[in-house]
Protein backbone atom coordinates (compact mmCIF):
# COMPACT_ATOMS: atom_id res chain seq x y z
CA UNK A 1 0.00 0.00 0.00
CA UNK A 2 2.63 2.50 1.03
CA UNK A 3 4.77 1.44 -1.90
CA UNK A 4 1.93 2.07 -4.31
CA UNK A 5 1.20 5.45 -2.77
CA UNK A 6 4.85 6.34 -3.14
CA UNK A 7 4.77 5.24 -6.80
CA UNK A 8 1.71 7.42 -7.39
CA UNK A 9 3.49 10.39 -5.84
CA UNK A 10 6.51 9.82 -8.07
CA UNK A 11 4.22 9.57 -11.12
CA UNK A 12 2.49 12.87 -10.28
CA UNK A 13 5.84 14.48 -9.66
CA UNK A 14 7.08 13.27 -13.08
CA UNK A 15 3.95 14.40 -14.96
CA UNK A 16 3.82 17.87 -13.46
CA UNK A 17 7.44 18.36 -14.33
CA UNK A 18 9.05 18.50 -10.94
CA UNK A 19 7.25 21.72 -10.27
CA UNK A 20 4.71 21.00 -7.61
CA UNK A 21 1.57 23.11 -7.39
CA UNK A 22 1.09 26.41 -9.19
CA UNK A 23 1.10 29.66 -7.31
CA UNK A 24 -1.67 32.22 -7.79
CA UNK A 25 -0.46 35.77 -7.52
CA UNK A 26 -1.29 39.42 -8.08
CA UNK A 27 0.89 42.08 -9.66
CA UNK A 28 -0.47 45.50 -8.72
CA UNK A 29 0.40 48.65 -10.68
CA UNK A 30 0.49 52.21 -9.32
CA UNK A 31 0.79 55.53 -11.17
CA UNK A 32 3.40 58.02 -10.04
CA UNK A 33 4.50 61.48 -11.03
CA UNK A 34 7.77 62.52 -9.45
CA UNK A 35 7.35 59.89 -6.76
CA UNK A 36 3.78 60.79 -5.76
CA UNK A 37 0.74 58.79 -6.74
CA UNK A 38 -1.58 60.74 -9.05
CA UNK A 39 -5.18 60.33 -10.17
CA UNK A 40 -7.71 62.06 -12.39
CA UNK A 41 -8.72 64.64 -9.79
CA UNK A 42 -6.49 67.73 -9.93
CA UNK A 43 -4.17 68.32 -7.01
CA UNK A 44 -2.01 71.29 -6.09
CA UNK A 45 1.13 69.20 -6.00
CA UNK A 46 1.49 68.60 -9.72
CA UNK A 47 -0.27 67.52 -12.86
CA UNK A 48 -3.22 65.17 -12.71
CA UNK A 49 -3.79 62.09 -14.77
CA UNK A 50 -5.81 62.69 -17.93
CA UNK A 51 -5.58 59.13 -19.24
CA UNK A 52 -3.72 55.91 -18.62
CA UNK A 53 -4.73 52.65 -20.22
CA UNK A 54 -2.40 50.07 -21.73
CA UNK A 55 -2.23 46.48 -22.91
CA UNK A 56 0.23 44.10 -21.28
CA UNK A 57 1.19 40.85 -23.01
CA UNK A 58 3.85 38.13 -22.84
CA UNK A 59 4.19 38.38 -19.06
CA UNK A 60 7.08 36.23 -17.85
CA UNK A 61 8.92 35.85 -14.56
CA UNK A 62 12.62 35.02 -14.36
CA UNK A 63 13.21 31.93 -12.29
CA UNK A 64 16.37 31.83 -10.25
CA UNK A 65 17.93 29.36 -12.71
CA UNK A 66 17.65 32.13 -15.34
CA UNK A 67 14.72 30.69 -17.29
CA UNK A 68 11.88 33.07 -18.24
CA UNK A 69 8.65 31.32 -17.25
CA UNK A 70 5.23 32.33 -18.64
CA UNK A 71 2.92 33.94 -16.12
CA UNK A 72 -0.50 32.70 -17.23
CA UNK A 73 -3.21 35.31 -16.73
CA UNK A 74 -6.68 34.31 -15.56
CA UNK A 75 -9.31 34.90 -18.23
CA UNK A 76 -12.11 37.00 -16.76
CA UNK A 77 -14.01 38.08 -19.90
CA UNK A 78 -13.43 41.71 -19.06
CA UNK A 79 -9.78 42.63 -18.55
CA UNK A 80 -7.69 39.53 -19.08
CA UNK A 81 -7.09 36.75 -21.57
CA UNK A 82 -4.43 34.07 -20.93
CA UNK A 83 -1.65 36.16 -22.46
CA UNK A 84 -3.11 39.64 -22.66
CA UNK A 85 -4.47 42.15 -20.16
CA UNK A 86 -5.80 45.68 -20.29
CA UNK A 87 -4.85 47.89 -17.38
CA UNK A 88 -6.99 51.00 -16.92
CA UNK A 89 -6.24 53.69 -14.33
CA UNK A 90 -8.63 56.42 -15.43
CA UNK A 91 -12.08 56.50 -13.87
CA UNK A 92 -13.81 59.09 -16.04
CA UNK A 93 -13.62 61.82 -13.39
CA UNK A 94 -11.72 65.12 -13.29
CA UNK A 95 -9.15 65.47 -16.05
CA UNK A 96 -10.10 61.99 -17.37
CA UNK A 97 -13.54 63.18 -18.46
CA UNK A 98 -13.30 61.39 -21.81
CA UNK A 99 -12.84 58.06 -20.06
CA UNK A 100 -15.01 55.46 -18.38
CA UNK A 101 -15.66 54.64 -14.67
CA UNK A 102 -14.31 51.07 -14.68
CA UNK A 103 -10.68 50.61 -13.64
CA UNK A 104 -8.30 47.64 -13.48
CA UNK A 105 -4.87 48.07 -11.95
CA UNK A 106 -3.82 44.52 -11.10
CA UNK A 107 -2.60 41.57 -13.16
CA UNK A 108 -3.89 38.24 -11.81
CA UNK A 109 -2.22 35.03 -12.87
CA UNK A 110 -0.37 31.88 -11.97
CA UNK A 111 3.25 30.79 -11.98
CA UNK A 112 4.65 27.33 -11.36
CA UNK A 113 6.05 27.12 -7.84
CA UNK A 114 9.64 28.27 -7.64
CA UNK A 115 11.83 31.19 -6.75
CA UNK A 116 11.68 34.18 -9.07
CA UNK A 117 13.61 37.42 -9.27
CA UNK A 118 12.68 39.44 -12.33
CA UNK A 119 9.61 40.34 -14.39
CA UNK A 120 9.30 40.76 -18.16
CA UNK A 121 6.34 42.01 -20.16
CA UNK A 122 5.42 43.71 -23.41
CA UNK A 123 3.38 46.90 -23.72
CA UNK A 124 1.22 46.10 -26.73
CA UNK A 125 -1.09 43.64 -28.42
CA UNK A 126 0.65 40.75 -30.22
CA UNK A 127 0.57 41.11 -34.01
CA UNK A 128 -1.73 38.10 -34.47
CA UNK A 129 -4.45 39.76 -32.36
CA UNK A 130 -3.77 43.36 -33.29
CA UNK A 131 -5.56 43.59 -36.62
CA UNK A 132 -8.95 41.91 -36.16
CA UNK A 133 -12.38 43.52 -35.89
CA UNK A 134 -12.87 45.11 -32.45
CA UNK A 135 -16.63 44.71 -32.73
CA UNK A 136 -16.22 40.94 -32.96
CA UNK A 137 -13.21 40.49 -30.65
CA UNK A 138 -13.24 38.96 -27.16
CA UNK A 139 -12.60 41.17 -24.12
CA UNK A 140 -10.49 43.16 -23.52
CA UNK A 141 -9.99 43.63 -27.28
CA UNK A 142 -13.63 44.72 -27.65
CA UNK A 143 -12.91 48.11 -26.06
CA UNK A 144 -13.49 50.63 -28.83
CA UNK A 145 -11.65 53.32 -26.88
CA UNK A 146 -8.50 51.24 -27.22
CA UNK A 147 -8.95 50.58 -30.92
CA UNK A 148 -7.30 52.77 -33.50
CA UNK A 149 -9.71 52.33 -36.35
CA UNK A 150 -7.90 54.31 -39.00
CA UNK A 151 -4.55 52.77 -38.14
CA UNK A 152 -6.17 49.31 -38.32
CA UNK A 153 -4.90 48.14 -34.93
CA UNK A 154 -5.08 48.88 -31.23
CA UNK A 155 -3.71 51.75 -29.21
CA UNK A 156 -1.21 49.85 -27.09
CA UNK A 157 -1.11 52.67 -24.61
CA UNK A 158 -2.95 55.90 -24.04
CA UNK A 159 -1.33 58.08 -21.41
CA UNK A 160 -1.70 61.74 -20.55
CA UNK A 161 -1.31 64.30 -17.81
CA UNK A 162 -2.83 67.74 -17.43
CA UNK A 163 -2.20 70.87 -15.40
CA UNK A 164 -5.20 73.20 -15.67
CA UNK A 165 -5.66 73.56 -19.45
CA UNK A 166 -2.17 72.48 -20.44
CA UNK A 167 -1.19 68.92 -20.92
CA UNK A 168 0.20 66.28 -23.18
CA UNK A 169 -0.90 62.82 -24.19
CA UNK A 170 0.49 59.95 -26.14
CA UNK A 171 -1.25 57.23 -28.12
CA UNK A 172 1.16 54.38 -28.81
CA UNK A 173 0.50 51.74 -31.46
CA UNK A 174 1.89 50.08 -34.58
CA UNK A 175 2.15 52.32 -37.65
CA UNK A 176 3.27 51.97 -41.23
CA UNK A 177 1.15 48.86 -41.66
CA UNK A 178 0.79 47.17 -45.05
CA UNK A 179 -2.24 45.45 -46.58
CA UNK A 180 -5.81 46.45 -45.83
CA UNK A 181 -7.91 46.41 -42.65
CA UNK A 182 -8.40 42.80 -41.48
CA UNK A 183 -5.74 41.70 -43.99
CA UNK A 184 -2.72 43.47 -42.49
CA UNK A 185 0.46 41.71 -43.58
CA UNK A 186 2.95 43.57 -41.38
CA UNK A 187 3.85 46.92 -39.87
CA UNK A 188 7.08 48.82 -40.48
CA UNK A 189 6.95 50.44 -37.05
CA UNK A 190 5.74 47.85 -34.50
CA UNK A 191 6.17 50.24 -31.53
CA UNK A 192 5.84 47.52 -28.89
CA UNK A 193 7.76 48.41 -25.74
CA UNK A 194 9.57 45.74 -23.72
CA UNK A 195 9.83 46.00 -19.94
CA UNK A 196 12.40 44.13 -17.85
CA UNK A 197 12.37 44.65 -14.10
CA UNK A 198 15.31 42.80 -12.53
CA UNK A 199 14.97 41.69 -8.90
CA UNK A 200 11.15 41.93 -9.15
CA UNK A 201 9.56 39.31 -6.88
CA UNK A 202 6.16 38.28 -8.32
CA UNK A 203 3.59 38.13 -5.56
CA UNK A 204 5.54 40.49 -3.31
CA UNK A 205 6.40 43.54 -5.42
CA UNK A 206 4.40 46.11 -7.42
CA UNK A 207 5.03 47.92 -10.70
CA UNK A 208 5.17 51.72 -10.63
CA UNK A 209 4.34 53.63 -13.81
CA UNK A 210 6.30 56.89 -13.66
CA UNK A 211 4.59 59.41 -15.94
CA UNK A 212 7.19 62.05 -15.04
CA UNK A 213 9.75 59.78 -16.71
CA UNK A 214 7.46 59.22 -19.72
CA UNK A 215 7.13 62.98 -20.24
CA UNK A 216 10.59 64.07 -19.08
CA UNK A 217 11.60 65.33 -22.53
CA UNK A 218 8.24 67.01 -23.12
CA UNK A 219 7.30 70.57 -22.16
CA UNK A 220 3.98 69.91 -20.45
CA UNK A 221 3.11 73.60 -20.38
CA UNK A 222 3.85 74.31 -24.06
CA UNK A 223 0.43 74.89 -25.64
CA UNK A 224 1.79 74.14 -29.12
CA UNK A 225 2.94 70.64 -28.20
CA UNK A 226 -0.17 68.78 -27.08
CA UNK A 227 0.15 65.20 -28.19
CA UNK A 228 1.92 62.34 -29.89
CA UNK A 229 -0.18 59.85 -31.81
CA UNK A 230 2.73 57.80 -33.14
CA UNK A 231 2.52 59.53 -36.56
CA UNK A 232 5.69 59.71 -38.58
CA UNK A 233 5.63 63.50 -38.80
CA UNK A 234 5.34 63.99 -35.04
CA UNK A 235 8.61 65.11 -33.51
CA UNK A 236 6.73 65.27 -30.19
CA UNK A 237 6.88 61.46 -30.12
CA UNK A 238 10.66 61.19 -29.94
CA UNK A 239 11.10 61.85 -26.21
CA UNK A 240 8.25 59.67 -24.88
CA UNK A 241 9.27 56.88 -27.26
CA UNK A 242 12.83 57.01 -25.90
CA UNK A 243 11.47 56.85 -22.34
CA UNK A 244 9.62 53.68 -23.36
CA UNK A 245 12.86 52.26 -24.77
CA UNK A 246 11.75 52.69 -28.39
CA UNK A 247 13.62 54.25 -31.28
CA UNK A 248 11.04 56.50 -32.95
CA UNK A 249 12.88 56.24 -36.28
CA UNK A 250 12.51 52.45 -36.47
CA UNK A 251 9.71 51.58 -34.06
CA UNK A 252 11.94 48.94 -32.45
CA UNK A 253 13.28 48.47 -28.94
CA UNK A 254 16.58 50.35 -28.71
CA UNK A 255 17.37 51.02 -25.07
CA UNK A 256 16.13 50.26 -21.58
CA UNK A 257 12.82 51.88 -20.80
CA UNK A 258 12.58 53.96 -17.62
CA UNK A 259 8.82 54.45 -17.23
CA UNK A 260 8.04 51.14 -15.50
CA UNK A 261 9.82 50.56 -12.21
CA UNK A 262 9.95 47.91 -9.54
CA UNK A 263 8.38 49.02 -6.28
CA UNK A 264 8.91 46.78 -3.28
CA UNK A 265 5.82 45.59 -1.50
CA UNK A 266 2.19 45.56 -2.53
Amino acid sequence: MIQRLLLLCVAIWAVTGCSGPEKQLRIPFVVLFDGSEIGCVPSKAGPSLSDLRFFVSAVRAIRDDGVAVDLVLQSDEQWQQADLALLDFEDGTGACDNGTPATNTVLRGTLPAGKYHGLLFTIGVPFEFNHGDPLLAAAPLDDTAMHWHWRAGYKFMRAGVRTADDGFWIHLGSTGCEGTVKNITGCHFPNRAEVLLPEFVPGDDSVAVDLAALFRGTDLLDTRATDCSSGRAERSCEAPFRALGLDFATGSVSNNQNVFLRRTGQ
Binding site: A145, H147, H149
Partner: protein
Protein backbone atom coordinates in the same frame (compact mmCIF):
# COMPACT_ATOMS: atom_id res chain seq x y z
CA UNK B 1 -41.61 7.87 -32.10
CA UNK B 2 -39.36 10.47 -30.55
CA UNK B 3 -36.71 9.70 -33.12
CA UNK B 4 -39.19 10.12 -35.96
CA UNK B 5 -40.31 13.45 -34.61
CA UNK B 6 -36.69 14.53 -34.33
CA UNK B 7 -35.95 13.55 -37.93
CA UNK B 8 -39.09 15.33 -39.09
CA UNK B 9 -38.05 18.41 -37.12
CA UNK B 10 -34.58 18.45 -38.69
CA UNK B 11 -36.04 18.00 -42.18
CA UNK B 12 -38.47 20.86 -41.63
CA UNK B 13 -35.64 23.04 -40.36
CA UNK B 14 -33.53 22.32 -43.46
CA UNK B 15 -36.50 22.95 -45.78
CA UNK B 16 -37.21 26.16 -43.91
CA UNK B 17 -33.66 27.45 -44.26
CA UNK B 18 -33.49 26.40 -47.90
CA UNK B 19 -36.76 28.19 -48.58
CA UNK B 20 -35.50 31.27 -46.80
CA UNK B 21 -32.32 31.14 -48.81
CA UNK B 22 -34.00 30.41 -52.14
CA UNK B 23 -36.93 32.75 -51.97
CA UNK B 24 -35.45 35.78 -50.33
CA UNK B 25 -35.62 38.42 -53.01
CA UNK B 26 -32.10 39.28 -54.18
CA UNK B 27 -31.15 42.90 -53.72
CA UNK B 28 -31.57 45.00 -56.81
CA UNK B 29 -29.26 47.95 -57.30
CA UNK B 30 -31.22 50.97 -58.47
CA UNK B 31 -28.42 52.09 -60.75
CA UNK B 32 -27.88 52.66 -64.44
CA UNK B 33 -27.02 49.34 -66.17
CA UNK B 34 -24.06 51.16 -67.71
CA UNK B 35 -22.46 51.29 -64.24
CA UNK B 36 -20.76 48.25 -62.71
CA UNK B 37 -22.22 46.57 -59.62
CA UNK B 38 -20.40 47.76 -56.48
CA UNK B 39 -18.35 45.29 -54.48
CA UNK B 40 -20.09 44.16 -51.27
CA UNK B 41 -18.32 42.34 -48.40
CA UNK B 42 -19.47 38.70 -48.18
CA UNK B 43 -20.31 39.12 -44.50
CA UNK B 44 -22.61 42.07 -45.14
CA UNK B 45 -24.92 41.32 -48.08
CA UNK B 46 -27.31 44.03 -49.19
CA UNK B 47 -31.04 43.89 -48.47
CA UNK B 48 -33.82 46.44 -48.72
CA UNK B 49 -34.63 46.18 -45.02
CA UNK B 50 -30.96 46.65 -44.11
CA UNK B 51 -30.75 49.77 -46.28
CA UNK B 52 -33.93 51.12 -44.65
CA UNK B 53 -32.45 50.49 -41.20
CA UNK B 54 -29.15 52.04 -42.24
CA UNK B 55 -30.92 55.17 -43.46
CA UNK B 56 -32.64 55.58 -40.08
CA UNK B 57 -29.33 55.15 -38.26
CA UNK B 58 -27.43 57.45 -40.63
CA UNK B 59 -29.76 60.27 -39.63
CA UNK B 60 -29.94 59.42 -35.91
CA UNK B 61 -28.26 61.95 -33.62
CA UNK B 62 -28.56 59.55 -30.70
CA UNK B 63 -25.49 57.84 -32.16
CA UNK B 64 -23.34 60.67 -30.76
CA UNK B 65 -22.19 61.02 -27.17
CA UNK B 66 -24.22 64.18 -26.50
CA UNK B 67 -27.02 63.57 -29.00
CA UNK B 68 -26.02 66.49 -31.22
CA UNK B 69 -24.64 64.94 -34.40
CA UNK B 70 -25.45 62.10 -36.77
CA UNK B 71 -23.55 60.87 -39.82
CA UNK B 72 -25.69 63.33 -41.79
CA UNK B 73 -24.36 66.31 -39.84
CA UNK B 74 -21.11 66.18 -41.83
CA UNK B 75 -22.62 64.41 -44.84
CA UNK B 76 -25.55 66.58 -45.97
CA UNK B 77 -27.53 65.28 -48.93
CA UNK B 78 -28.08 68.70 -50.55
CA UNK B 79 -24.30 69.22 -50.54
CA UNK B 80 -23.62 65.81 -52.11
CA UNK B 81 -23.01 64.44 -48.62
CA UNK B 82 -20.36 66.97 -47.62
CA UNK B 83 -20.88 69.71 -45.03
CA UNK B 84 -19.80 72.91 -46.77
CA UNK B 85 -17.10 73.53 -44.16
CA UNK B 86 -13.37 73.72 -44.76
CA UNK B 87 -12.88 71.45 -41.75
CA UNK B 88 -15.62 69.46 -40.10
CA UNK B 89 -16.65 69.90 -36.46
CA UNK B 90 -17.36 67.00 -34.10
CA UNK B 91 -20.01 66.54 -31.41
CA UNK B 92 -17.96 68.32 -28.77
CA UNK B 93 -16.82 71.16 -31.01
CA UNK B 94 -13.42 69.76 -31.84
CA UNK B 95 -12.29 70.76 -35.33
CA UNK B 96 -11.21 67.96 -37.63
CA UNK B 97 -7.96 68.56 -39.53
CA UNK B 98 -9.71 67.55 -42.73
CA UNK B 99 -12.76 68.40 -44.80
CA UNK B 100 -15.66 65.90 -44.85
CA UNK B 101 -15.45 63.80 -48.00
CA UNK B 102 -18.45 63.33 -50.25
CA UNK B 103 -20.18 59.96 -49.87
CA UNK B 104 -21.27 60.01 -53.50
CA UNK B 105 -20.30 56.71 -55.17
CA UNK B 106 -18.43 55.68 -52.04
CA UNK B 107 -19.45 52.09 -52.86
CA UNK B 108 -16.93 52.32 -55.72
CA UNK B 109 -14.08 53.73 -53.63
CA UNK B 110 -11.16 51.31 -53.50
CA UNK B 111 -9.85 53.13 -50.43
CA UNK B 112 -11.74 55.35 -48.00
CA UNK B 113 -10.98 58.79 -46.55
CA UNK B 114 -8.36 61.24 -47.83
CA UNK B 115 -5.12 59.44 -47.13
CA UNK B 116 -5.41 55.92 -45.79
CA UNK B 117 -4.20 52.99 -47.83
CA UNK B 118 -5.44 50.46 -45.26
CA UNK B 119 -9.15 51.34 -45.18
CA UNK B 120 -11.08 49.60 -47.93
CA UNK B 121 -14.45 48.79 -46.33
CA UNK B 122 -17.19 51.10 -45.10
CA UNK B 123 -17.81 48.75 -42.18
CA UNK B 124 -14.29 49.55 -40.92
CA UNK B 125 -14.35 53.23 -41.81
CA UNK B 126 -17.58 53.79 -39.86
CA UNK B 127 -15.74 53.02 -36.62
CA UNK B 128 -13.57 56.13 -36.90
CA UNK B 129 -16.37 58.73 -36.85
CA UNK B 130 -18.34 56.70 -34.30
CA UNK B 131 -15.57 55.90 -31.84
CA UNK B 132 -12.53 58.02 -32.75
CA UNK B 133 -11.31 60.41 -30.07
CA UNK B 134 -8.61 62.38 -31.87
CA UNK B 135 -10.48 64.30 -33.00
CA UNK B 136 -13.81 63.42 -31.40
CA UNK B 137 -16.43 63.11 -34.14
CA UNK B 138 -19.42 61.28 -32.64
CA UNK B 139 -17.61 60.41 -29.41
CA UNK B 140 -19.09 56.96 -28.73
CA UNK B 141 -15.88 55.25 -27.56
CA UNK B 142 -16.70 53.15 -24.51
CA UNK B 143 -20.43 53.76 -24.98
CA UNK B 144 -21.23 50.57 -26.88
CA UNK B 145 -23.86 49.53 -24.27
CA UNK B 146 -25.73 52.79 -24.95
CA UNK B 147 -25.85 51.96 -28.65
CA UNK B 148 -27.14 48.45 -27.93
CA UNK B 149 -29.76 49.92 -25.60
CA UNK B 150 -30.90 52.38 -28.28
CA UNK B 151 -31.24 49.55 -30.81
CA UNK B 152 -33.19 47.44 -28.31
CA UNK B 153 -35.58 50.17 -27.17
CA UNK B 154 -36.38 52.29 -30.22
CA UNK B 155 -39.74 51.35 -31.73
CA UNK B 156 -38.43 50.95 -35.26
CA UNK B 157 -34.99 49.52 -34.50
CA UNK B 158 -36.34 46.84 -32.21
CA UNK B 159 -38.51 45.52 -35.05
CA UNK B 160 -36.07 46.03 -37.93
CA UNK B 161 -32.93 44.49 -36.43
CA UNK B 162 -34.28 40.94 -35.94
CA UNK B 163 -35.80 41.20 -39.41
CA UNK B 164 -32.51 42.25 -41.03
CA UNK B 165 -30.33 39.86 -39.03
CA UNK B 166 -32.68 36.87 -38.43
CA UNK B 167 -29.88 34.38 -37.71
CA UNK B 168 -28.30 36.45 -34.92
CA UNK B 169 -28.88 35.32 -31.36
CA UNK B 170 -28.66 38.97 -30.32
CA UNK B 171 -29.26 41.22 -33.31
CA UNK B 172 -29.01 44.41 -31.23
CA UNK B 173 -25.26 44.83 -31.67
CA UNK B 174 -22.98 47.67 -32.69
CA UNK B 175 -21.61 45.59 -35.54
CA UNK B 176 -25.12 45.21 -36.99
CA UNK B 177 -25.73 48.95 -36.71
CA UNK B 178 -22.45 49.60 -38.50
CA UNK B 179 -23.25 47.03 -41.20
CA UNK B 180 -26.63 48.65 -41.81
CA UNK B 181 -25.17 52.15 -42.11
CA UNK B 182 -22.57 50.79 -44.55
CA UNK B 183 -25.30 49.13 -46.64
CA UNK B 184 -27.29 52.39 -46.82
CA UNK B 185 -24.19 54.38 -47.71
CA UNK B 186 -23.41 51.97 -50.57
CA UNK B 187 -26.70 52.94 -52.24
CA UNK B 188 -25.63 56.58 -52.63
CA UNK B 189 -24.77 56.24 -56.32
CA UNK B 190 -24.89 59.15 -58.72
CA UNK B 191 -25.95 58.28 -62.27
CA UNK B 192 -28.43 60.93 -63.36
CA UNK B 193 -26.32 63.97 -64.18
CA UNK B 194 -26.42 65.78 -67.53
CA UNK B 195 -23.15 64.03 -68.30
CA UNK B 196 -24.75 60.60 -67.67
CA UNK B 197 -27.63 61.51 -69.98
CA UNK B 198 -25.09 62.57 -72.59
CA UNK B 199 -23.29 59.22 -72.24
CA UNK B 200 -26.63 57.44 -72.60
CA UNK B 201 -27.09 59.03 -76.04
CA UNK B 202 -28.85 62.33 -75.34
CA UNK B 203 -26.65 64.68 -77.33
CA UNK B 204 -28.54 67.72 -76.11
CA UNK B 205 -27.76 66.95 -72.48
CA UNK B 206 -24.53 68.95 -72.55
CA UNK B 207 -24.60 72.51 -73.83
CA UNK B 208 -21.81 73.83 -76.05
CA UNK B 209 -19.77 75.21 -73.18
CA UNK B 210 -19.93 71.95 -71.27
CA UNK B 211 -19.03 69.95 -74.37
CA UNK B 212 -15.93 72.04 -74.97
CA UNK B 213 -15.15 71.81 -71.26
CA UNK B 214 -15.37 68.03 -71.51
CA UNK B 215 -12.80 68.03 -74.30
CA UNK B 216 -10.51 70.18 -72.18
CA UNK B 217 -11.01 67.91 -69.18
CA UNK B 218 -10.01 64.82 -71.13
CA UNK B 219 -7.10 66.53 -72.94
CA UNK B 220 -3.41 65.80 -72.49
CA UNK B 221 -2.99 69.54 -72.16
CA UNK B 222 -4.87 69.70 -68.86
CA UNK B 223 -4.16 66.12 -67.68
CA UNK B 224 -7.20 66.12 -65.34
CA UNK B 225 -8.33 62.63 -66.28
CA UNK B 226 -5.16 60.83 -65.21
CA UNK B 227 -6.25 61.08 -61.59
CA UNK B 228 -9.94 61.93 -62.10
CA UNK B 229 -10.64 59.36 -64.82
CA UNK B 230 -13.25 56.68 -65.46
CA UNK B 231 -16.96 56.63 -64.73
CA UNK B 232 -16.27 57.63 -61.14
CA UNK B 233 -13.80 60.46 -61.89
CA UNK B 234 -11.15 59.12 -59.52
CA UNK B 235 -8.37 56.61 -60.01
CA UNK B 236 -9.13 54.97 -56.65
CA UNK B 237 -12.12 53.11 -58.01
CA UNK B 238 -13.18 49.49 -57.77
CA UNK B 239 -16.30 47.38 -58.29
CA UNK B 240 -17.54 43.79 -58.02
CA UNK B 241 -15.79 42.61 -61.19
CA UNK B 242 -12.67 44.76 -60.97
CA UNK B 243 -9.58 42.77 -61.93
CA UNK B 244 -7.03 45.00 -60.21
CA UNK B 245 -6.93 46.95 -56.98
CA UNK B 246 -6.73 50.52 -58.27
CA UNK B 247 -5.46 52.94 -55.66
CA UNK B 248 -3.91 56.35 -56.22
CA UNK B 249 -2.51 58.96 -53.87
CA UNK B 250 -1.04 62.16 -55.27
CA UNK B 251 0.90 65.18 -54.12
CA UNK B 252 -0.57 68.03 -56.16
CA UNK B 253 1.79 70.75 -54.97
CA UNK B 254 -0.61 72.49 -52.61
CA UNK B 255 2.19 73.22 -50.12
CA UNK B 256 5.96 73.33 -49.89
CA UNK B 257 6.59 74.83 -46.49
CA UNK B 258 10.30 74.14 -46.03
CA UNK B 259 11.28 74.03 -49.69
CA UNK B 260 11.75 70.31 -49.23
CA UNK B 261 8.15 69.35 -49.83
CA UNK B 262 6.63 69.62 -46.35
CA UNK B 263 2.88 69.91 -45.87
CA UNK B 264 1.32 71.34 -42.67
CA UNK B 265 2.16 69.02 -39.76
CA UNK B 266 -1.47 68.07 -39.07
CA UNK B 267 -2.05 67.06 -42.68
CA UNK B 268 0.95 65.31 -44.20
CA UNK B 269 -1.19 62.84 -46.13
CA UNK B 270 0.01 59.27 -46.58
CA UNK B 271 3.33 60.21 -44.95
CA UNK B 272 1.68 60.22 -41.53
CA UNK B 273 0.98 56.50 -41.94
CA UNK B 274 4.04 55.26 -43.78
CA UNK B 275 6.86 57.57 -42.72
CA UNK B 276 8.27 57.41 -46.25
CA UNK B 277 9.37 60.86 -47.50
CA UNK B 278 7.95 60.20 -50.94
CA UNK B 279 4.48 59.92 -49.34
CA UNK B 280 4.57 63.53 -48.10
CA UNK B 281 1.42 65.37 -49.19
CA UNK B 282 -0.09 62.40 -51.01
CA UNK B 283 -3.88 62.41 -50.85
CA UNK B 284 -6.57 60.49 -52.68
CA UNK B 285 -8.19 62.08 -55.73
CA UNK B 286 -11.86 62.48 -54.74
CA UNK B 287 -14.66 61.73 -57.20
CA UNK B 288 -15.70 64.82 -59.17
CA UNK B 289 -19.33 63.78 -59.36
CA UNK B 290 -21.43 66.63 -57.90
CA UNK B 291 -18.20 68.54 -57.34
CA UNK B 292 -19.92 71.90 -57.97
CA UNK B 293 -21.90 71.60 -54.72
CA UNK B 294 -19.05 70.41 -52.46
CA UNK B 295 -17.05 73.61 -51.88
CA UNK B 296 -14.67 74.37 -50.25
CA UNK B 297 -12.18 72.03 -51.90
CA UNK B 298 -9.09 69.93 -51.15
CA UNK B 299 -8.42 67.77 -48.08
CA UNK B 300 -8.29 70.83 -45.83
CA UNK B 301 -10.84 73.03 -47.56
CA UNK B 302 -8.08 75.47 -48.47
CA UNK B 303 -9.48 76.25 -51.93
CA UNK B 304 -12.78 78.14 -51.74
CA UNK B 305 -14.00 77.80 -55.32
CA UNK B 306 -13.55 75.72 -58.46
CA UNK B 307 -11.88 78.76 -60.05
CA UNK B 308 -9.28 78.66 -57.30
CA UNK B 309 -8.74 74.94 -57.82
CA UNK B 310 -8.25 75.37 -61.56
CA UNK B 311 -5.86 78.26 -60.97
CA UNK B 312 -3.80 76.00 -58.69
CA UNK B 313 -3.54 73.27 -61.32
CA UNK B 314 -2.91 75.77 -64.14
CA UNK B 315 0.05 77.16 -62.20
CA UNK B 316 1.35 73.62 -61.59
CA UNK B 317 1.20 74.05 -57.82
CA UNK B 318 0.01 76.68 -55.38
CA UNK B 319 2.11 79.64 -54.32
CA UNK B 320 1.55 80.73 -50.73
CA UNK B 321 3.32 84.05 -50.42
CA UNK B 322 3.28 84.55 -46.68
CA UNK B 323 2.22 83.13 -43.34
CA UNK B 324 3.17 79.91 -41.59
CA UNK B 325 2.49 77.83 -44.71
CA UNK B 326 4.42 80.07 -47.14
CA UNK B 327 6.12 78.21 -49.97
CA UNK B 328 5.94 77.41 -53.67
CA UNK B 329 4.01 74.18 -54.18
CA UNK B 330 5.07 74.09 -57.82
CA UNK B 331 8.55 73.19 -56.61
CA UNK B 332 7.39 70.46 -54.25
CA UNK B 333 9.83 67.59 -54.95
CA UNK B 334 7.13 64.97 -54.31
CA UNK B 335 4.61 66.50 -56.73
CA UNK B 336 2.78 64.20 -59.17
CA UNK B 337 4.25 64.19 -62.70
CA UNK B 338 0.81 65.11 -64.04
CA UNK B 339 0.79 68.48 -62.28
CA UNK B 340 2.81 70.34 -64.89
CA UNK B 341 0.67 73.43 -65.32
CA UNK B 342 -1.12 74.72 -68.40
CA UNK B 343 -2.29 77.94 -69.98
CA UNK B 344 -6.06 78.38 -70.00
CA UNK B 345 -8.03 81.34 -71.29
CA UNK B 346 -10.86 82.75 -69.16
CA UNK B 347 -13.35 81.38 -71.69
CA UNK B 348 -11.79 77.93 -71.50
CA UNK B 349 -11.84 78.07 -67.73
CA UNK B 350 -15.57 78.82 -67.78
CA UNK B 351 -16.09 75.95 -70.22
CA UNK B 352 -14.24 73.58 -67.93
CA UNK B 353 -16.42 74.72 -65.04
CA UNK B 354 -19.52 74.23 -67.21
CA UNK B 355 -18.43 70.63 -67.71
CA UNK B 356 -17.85 70.15 -63.96
CA UNK B 357 -21.35 71.57 -63.38
CA UNK B 358 -22.73 68.93 -65.77
CA UNK B 359 -21.63 66.29 -63.23
CA UNK B 360 -24.21 67.53 -60.72
CA UNK B 361 -27.03 65.02 -60.21
CA UNK B 362 -30.16 66.77 -58.91
CA UNK B 363 -31.82 63.42 -58.15
CA UNK B 364 -29.04 62.48 -55.77
CA UNK B 365 -29.30 65.79 -53.95
CA UNK B 366 -33.04 65.55 -53.33
CA UNK B 367 -34.40 61.99 -53.67
CA UNK B 368 -36.12 60.60 -50.57
CA UNK B 369 -34.14 57.35 -50.91
CA UNK B 370 -31.28 59.21 -49.24
CA UNK B 371 -33.03 61.93 -47.24
CA UNK B 372 -33.85 62.16 -43.54
CA UNK B 373 -36.48 59.48 -42.79
CA UNK B 374 -37.24 60.58 -39.23
Amino acid sequence: MIRQALVLGVVLLIVGFAGFWLFERPFEWAIDPALPIPEVPVDNPMSDAKVELGQLLFYDERLSANGTVSCATCHIQALAFTDGKARSIGATGQVHPRSAMSLVNVAYASRLTWANKLLDKLEDQALTPLFGDNPIEMGMAGREPAIAELLRSDDRYKILLPKVFPLDRDPYSVVNAVRSIAAFTRTIVSNNSAYDRFLAGDETALNEDASRGMELFFSERLECFHCHGGFNFTDSTTHANARIDRVGFHNTGLYNIDGEGAYPADNTGLYDMTGARRDMGRFKAPTLRNIAVTAPYMHDGSAATLEEVIEHYARGGRLIAEGPYAGDGRRNPFKSEFIRGFVLSDIERDELIAFLNSLTDATLLTDSRWSNPH
